[in-house]
């Protein structure tokens, strides 16, 4: 329930709703979309990335000298969890064809594809299989399937949304293989939303010029992820899944080819070594680093580990200066602060409204532009609504959806959202939600080419951990597509590569070299990475943990 003091503003939303409804029904845009110049202005002034403290120079490694997101530079300029001399690499604990690091959507798609090509896989994952951002996507997956929407149109939307920084050789497979992926997933048993005439339902997302968002109600990620997981588990002889066993370093061979990793059992605190002919990083994003202090939509294990372990081997990063804030994170009630409100809400006609009941931005600008416009509305124009806890947000008018799409639409298309709010006595079919940007997505990552190869031979990367596909701004629905397209590609190319590769002696020397580099750059720090899990232990509790030793965030 909203506190009484908000009712004045809530009434204004109701008062303007009919007029907004009439406009939304007409052929005219509900609000003029921004020009290139207006986009630049609002981004420069209000996007958190453009604040001075948001970036700093990285002093070591392959991206040395570049300006990176501060928190990313911090985890890169950190010590390893391990001492190389503690390991006897001549007797690895596990041997496999392909080590897949990260049991989310990308990792699962890679494994399912690689075994088709005869490879054996080992999945190292931090929490349970499927405890991943992939489980959480709500809105959908883009795929250009309608007559009016050739895949090249999808290409144009992607590259414009990414401010033309995307690597063209990655955008092409992303868009061109979308229809094939939609079909592949359906053949595995994914239940897509369909219309009465059997066609796939397509909706708009931010930055789309054609309707091309496929969905599974608002449990899209859960449906896809559980299908992929179930398929992974149907092949226990070919895919070995090690849960609560994150990878904390990569292993190279003497020629510098990637040759496996060091795994850490979170529960028994033992370390294990894996020798693998090829390695695929699918560790997802970094929301749990709480960049700039933002709340996040991400799962518990999203701490950017893949970036760190790849960087220590010399893996090059791309666009790690750009962070995606999702425009519509929840700000009220406090218990669900930061939680994602799917963009599909705006795709279905929901509108962002200020305290006076006015629409103040085209509802489907690319995410960074939309987020910046929300921040401007709240901070500069002071047209936001304050919560009792001191947060500020704008309304996201969901009841309008019921007027546009018909009564019962929300219940059918947004069961997760409805449930999320009804727990706190807010019925989103009748009342709007209160939203503000939330830390959502890692736009950049480890640079790959169209075969998912990094610059380290034998090291493949796919999904959110990779960089180049989305330029500096990903559009909604393209990340689920990304981890499927490139997860499959990584599985395909890695399983071909292993047929000819010959590994020499295994080595962890790169860790020693990295430590030396830290030292000679004069970096003195007690930071340890990969971070593995965030810690939400209150300060006063920590102070009493007298005999505990923290290694990074973990005791």
């Amino acid at each position: 329930m909203y506190p009484d003091y908000m009712s004045k503003s809530l009434n204004k939303v109701i008062q303007t709703r009919n007029k907004r409804f009439e406009l939304a029904k007409s052929e005219k845009p509900v609000f003029p979309p921004m020009s290139a110049k207006e986009r630049d202005e609002v981004l420069n002034k209000f996007h958190p990335d453009y604040k001075k403290e948001s970036r700093r120079k990285i002093n070591i490694g392959p991206n040395k000298g570049e300006m990176l997101t501060t928190e990313v530079a911090d985890i890169l300029e950190s010590h390893s969890r391990i001492k190389p001399e503690s390991f006897d690499l001549s007797k690895p604990d596990y041997e496999t064809d392909i080590l897949i690091i990260g049991g989310g959507g990308g990792g699962s798609a890679a494994a399912i594809t690689a075994i088709k090509n005869g490879a054996k896989c080992l999945i190292s994952t931090k929490l349970r299989l499927g405890d991943a951002n992939s489980m959480m996507s709500q809105g959908g997956m883009q795929a250009a399937i309608t007559k009016q929407d050739p895949p090249t149109r999808h290409y144009l939307d992607v590259i414009g949304g990414g401010h033309f920084d995307n690597k063209p050789e990655l955008v092409r497979p992303l868009t061109e293989e979308g229809p094939e992926v939609a079909n592949w997933l359906e053949e595995l048993g994914v239940v897509w939303d369909k219309l009465d005439d059997t066609s796939l339902q397509v909706l708009h997302g931010g930055g789309t010029s054609r309707k091309r968002m496929l969905s599974s109600r608002d449990y899209t990620g859960a449906i896809i992820m559980r299908t992929l997981m179930d398929e992974v588990r149907n092949h226990p002889n070919k895919i070995n899944v090690l849960e609560f066993m994150p990878t904390v370093e990569l292993i190279l061979d003497e020629q510098g080819k990637c040759a496996g990793g060091v795994l850490y059992n979170l529960e028994t605190e033992e370390y294990f070594t894996v020798r693998a002919k090829a390695t695929i990083i699918t560790t997802g994003g970094y929301g749990r680093l709480h960049i700039r202090g933002f709340d996040t939509t991400n799962h518990y294990g999203a701490t950017g580990d893949g970036l760190v372990i790849a960087y220590r081997t010399g893996g090059k990063l791309l666009y790690m200066d750009s962070v995606q804030y999702h425009p519509t994170g929840s700000v009220f009630p406090e218990q669900i602060a930061g939680f994602l409100i799917t963009e599909k809400i705006r795709g279905a006609g929901g509108q962002p409204i200020n305290k006076d009941g006015e629409l103040f931005v085209f509802p489907r600008e690319p995410r960074d532009v939309e987020s910046s416009a929300f921040i401007r509305e709240c901070l500069e124009r002071k047209n936001g609504i304050k919560t009792p806890q001191g947060r500020v947000g704008v309304w996201l008018d969901s009841p309008l959806i019921e007027m546009l799409q018909g009564e019962g639409y929300i219940k059918k298309q947004f069961p997760a959202m409805l449930r999320q709010f009804i727990r706190y006595d807010i019925d989103i079919t009748k009342e709007p939600m209160l939203v503000f940007p939330s830390l959502h997505y890692q736009n950049g990552g480890i640079e790959i080419n169209e075969k998912c190869e990094s610059n380290i031979p034998g090291l493949y990367v796919a999904g959110e951990a990779s960089g180049g596909v989305h330029g500096r701004n990903r559009l909604m629905g393209n990340s689920v597509l990304d981890y499927n397209v490139f997860g499959r590609r990584a599985g395909k190319y890695a399983s071909t590569y292993i047929k000819s590769v010959k590994l020499s002696k295994l080595s962890l020397d790169h860790i020693n070299r990295y430590e030396k580099e830290l030292k000679s750059a004069g970096i003195r720090t007690d930071r340890i990475s990969p971070v593995l899990l965030p810690s939400y232990t209150p300060e006063d509790v920590r102070k009493r943990q007298l005999t505990a030793k923290y290694e990074g965030t973990l005791r």
């Binding site: 052929e27 845009p29 020009s35 290139a36 349970r128 405890d131 991943a132 489980m135 959480m136 250009a144 399937i145 309608t146 007559k147 929407d149 895949p151 090249t152 144009l156 414009g160 063209p168 092409r172 061109e176 229809p179 094939e180 079909n183 359906e186 595995l188 048993g189 994914v190 239940v191 897509w192 369909k194 059997t198 708009h204 010029s209 054609r210 309707k211 599974s216 449906i223 559980r226 179930d230 588990r233 149907n234 226990p236 799962h299 518990y300 406090e334 218990q335 669900i336 939680f339 994602l340 009792p388 069961p415 997760a416 449930r419 999320q420 727990r423 899990l533 939400y536 232990t537 209150p538």
Partner: protein, 227 residues
């Protein structure tokens, strides 16, 4: 947390802690000083990692909930379940049929359902779990798919079930069967896949991929919008 004065007592695995009254169970455990390893995934009600059982004072009932979305209550006695033992049948999705025989073969215990409704009562998503198990017995794959659609696989139904059924895995099987075999196929999708195989977009792609930034920008900002 909100109001510093507003605290309640809860018993985490039997031990009392003062925690903010407006905390979720997960928030309360972390506030008390637990570093969660098992028992947290999405933290938003999607993954089912955080199944929790609890009792309230003066009430004989056992309650179930998700730690990430259930708020603490005064004197709540709670315990998170680190993992739920559950078997999953291994099958080849290409070699099974969407009918009751498949259910019989892969999850025969479904037919032991005594319709006690314990599963439905335990479901933190308020799904009609028993109804979908009954539908599975009839081989009504579509109904199982529909009723189990929002299932998070938290496993609370399975541990409450006197017939020892693993409801959520039956739900996953049914959804896969429906998606693959019963859902009506999209003609548009097939046409598009064929077009792409015939390379009819090659030229357009090549033009776009070799265009310079100004050109692309022009095309991008001039593109028409589907209403």
């Amino acid at each position: 947390m909100a109001n510093k004065e507003n605290f309640v007592n809860v018993f985490i695995m039997g031990k009392g802690y003062k925690v903010p009254a407006e905390a979720t169970i997960m928030g309360a455990m972390e506030y008390a000083g637990y570093q969660i390893k098992r028992g947290a995934g999405c933290r938003e009600g999607f993954c089912g990692a955080c199944a929790t059982v609890y009792r309230l004072p003066g009430d004989y009932k056992i309650y179930t909930g998700l730690a990430c979305t259930t708020m603490v209550e005064k004197d709540m006695w709670l315990s998170q379940l680190p993992a739920i033992p559950a078997h999953k049948s291994i099958y080849d999705i290409n070699k099974i049929e969407p009918n009751v025989a498949t259910i019989q073969k892969l999850y025969p215990e479904v037919f032991r359902c005594v319709a006690c409704n314990s599963c439905t009562k335990a479901c933190p998503q308020d799904l009609e779990v028993m109804d979908y198990i009954q539908a599975a017995k009839r081989g009504d794959i579509e109904a199982v798919m529909d009723l189990s659609f929002d299932c998070l696989c938290c496993g609370l139904c399975a541990i409450r079930c006197p017939a020892e059924i693993v409801q959520f895995n039956v739900g996953i099987l049914a959804k896969r069967l429906y998606g693959k075999y019963l859902a009506p196929k999209s003609k548009e999708l097939n046409i598009r896949i064929k077009e792409i195989k015939k390379n009819i977009y090659d030229k357009e792609y090549n033009d776009l991929m070799t265009a310079n930034k100004e050109d692309l920008e022009k095309q991008y900002y001039a593109r028409d919008m589907e209403k």
